[in-house]
């Protein structure tokens, strides 16, 4: 072994975001040659807690597993229970769920779109992206009642409705978002300093992407057109057309581009929903009983495929709730993305998978 090879610890405090994860990197000179991922710093035992609470309390609990994809947790949890109990939700509720989910996706993607320039030191673009994102936060606050936790889903439907006036407000806000989003996209695509720091960095080739089973924008940036909304439509997605964004290079830059395109696609999906949404009830009108059984449901969270498993025994408290979050397969793929790159690239590579540690460790 040459003299210049040594181990460096990265984390667990403030690796990329304010979420703890610990990497033990083996480097040779400035180049990464191997890594160990050490997780578990924010394990809160949420899966265990769901088994101590009734089905309704768990709506609130699952929403608080994570912040940026908070809506997908109760959403998928409800879908699993509805499948288990054989509940058909009203069509309007399906559309309302889809709208809420896509608004969350835009806000989540814009966050990561801001974080990437921030990591490479382009803070003014970070600030600008966050300011643009603020319109989505305002939208969530006025339509759903909270900037992060929407409280949209319930077993058998949704807990909110939108009036014509609100529908116009959503359309207007999205319309106002289109121009700044196109502008940011153009800056990201053309700016030399962004491209220098992201192009050809953290490459995940297609075959490795398949081998590691990565999901979400990470998979789509490596040329895998896998999107649960398309291959396994749920809620109103079977009635909508969704074009997943796919890039081929598998580098940090491609993942950034995928998110930029998906944000624009989400605007289009919401517009479709608002246009097609039928009138009608938004929930069942009663609190359904959940029989004994087991079921599985999945959805496309902003970070990728989220799977929920539920097992019940006829009591109001679930026997087991288990979920698999998109970051789990994605962070394992860091083992491919990091070796061969410089220490200075580490944080942007981690940031590019948009990790959600609190989801993964729950």
């Amino acid at each position: 072994m040459p003299m210049s090879s040594y181990n460096i610890p990265i984390g667990p405090v403030h690796v990329v975001l304010e979420e703890p994860i610990y990497f033990k990197l083996q480097v040779e000179g400035e180049t990464v040659v191997g890594l160990d991922i050490n997780a578990g710093h924010v394990h809160r035992g949420i899966e265990f807690l769901t088994m101590q609470r009734n089905f309704y309390q768990n709506l609130t609990l699952t929403e608080r597993v994570c912040s940026l994809c908070s809506n997908n947790h109760p959403f998928t949890y409800c879908m699993a229970l509805e499948k288990l109990a054989g509940i058909e939700i009203p069509v309007r509720a399906e559309y309302l769920r889809t709208i809420a989910d896509e608004i969350k996706r835009i806000a989540s993607h814009l966050f990561n779109i801001g974080i990437i320039p921030h990591i490479i030191g382009f803070d003014s673009l970070f600030m600008h992206a966050m300011e643009v994102r603020e319109s989505m936060q305002d939208l969530k606050e006025s339509v759903f009642g909270n900037r992060m936790n929407l409280s949209v889903n319930t077993i058998g439907g949704v807990r909110y409705n939108i009036t014509d006036e609100q529908s116009k407000y959503i359309v207007k806000t999205l319309e106002n978002l289109k121009k700044p989003l196109a502008e940011i996209t153009k800056i990201c695509r053309t700016d030399a300093s962004i491209r220098r720091r992201t192009e050809g960095i953290g490459v995940l080739p297609k075959d490795k992407a398949i081998a590691y089973g990565v999901v979400g924008p990470v998979a789509r940036a490596s040329g895998l057109p896998y999107d649960v909304r398309v291959v396994n439509p749920y809620a109103a997605y079977d009635k909508l057309t969704v074009y997943p964004a796919v890039e081929q290079n598998g580098d940090v830059f491609s993942r950034l581009l995928v998110r930029l395109q998906e944000a624009a696609e989400s605007i289009r999906i919401i517009e479709q929903c608002l246009h097609d949404m039928p009138e009608g009830p938004t929930d069942l009108g009663y609190m359904p009983d959940i029989p004994a059984g087991e079921a599985i449901a999945k959805s496309e969270a902003p970070r990728g495929e989220l799977i929920y498993y539920a097992r019940t025994n006829g009591t109001p408290i679930p026997e087991r709730i288990k979920w698999r979050v998109p970051t789990y397969p994605n962070w394992a793929a860091l083992n491919v993305m990091m070796p061969g790159y410089k220490i200075a690239d580490i944080s942007v590579i981690i940031g590019s998978i948009d990790p959600c540690i609190s989801c993964t460790e729950r």
Binding site: R53, N54, Y56, Q57, N58, L59, T60, L61, E63, R64, S124, L125, H128, E131, E134, E141, S142, V143, F144, G145, N146, N149, S151, T154, R159, E183, K186, I187, T190, D191, A192, S193, M287
Partner: protein
């Protein structure tokens, strides 16, 4: 780079996007879920809100003198999820758009919404019971209300009256 300078220039001309809270007011949208208020007159003490509350923020207990129910919402453990309001049959519990929840540490256990759901004597036997609120009466008996006065009776007396009246009379 040039492209981004245009954005910066636009932002400079536009001025700051932030507000100087708390020196400047930040109005909350109508739907914002904030501090809870409870209307004891509309409450029928059904415990549904307590059942769905993940935060364990709602406590309902019979008062010591058995004259009513002490209803307490502890703001500090409420997650503002809105499930209680959503499932409350009479909407007696409501999340206002008041988000001002700062308070001193010494007050943390007193920072509650506290009401008293008063019992009334049953019109037949006089046993104290939680009255069915007007909002609930309208939901059950419709616009003209409860003409037989059943909602002012305790469950035992109500059963007796209904039995005497025969089961086929709807």
């Amino acid at each position: 780079m040039i492209r981004f300078f245009k954005v910066i220039l636009k932002n400079i001309i536009q001025g700051p996007s932030t507000i100087k809270y708390p020196f400047e007011d930040s109005p909350a949208p109508e739907k914002l879920r904030g501090k809870i208020v409870h209307n004891a007159d509309a409450c029928v003490a059904c415990h549904l809100c307590e059942y769905v509350c993940a935060g364990g923020a709602i406590k309902m207990q019979e008062s010591e003198d058995h004259q009513g129910i002490d209803f307490v919402v502890w703001h500090d453990t409420c997650t503002f999820c809105g499930l209680c309001e959503y499932y409350c049959p009479t909407k007696a519990i409501h999340l206002t758009n008041d988000y001002h929840t700062a308070h001193v540490q010494a007050d943390k256990y007193n920072y509650v919404e506290k009401t008293f759901v008063k019992k009334q004597p049953c019109i037949c036997c006089g046993e104290p019971m939680v009255p069915i609120s007007p909002a609930m009466v309208e939901q059950i008996y419709g616009q003209e209300g409860d003409i037989r006065g059943l909602s002012k009776m305790c469950p035992q007396c109500r059963r007796k009256i209904l039995w005497k009246g025969g089961v086929s009379k709807s």
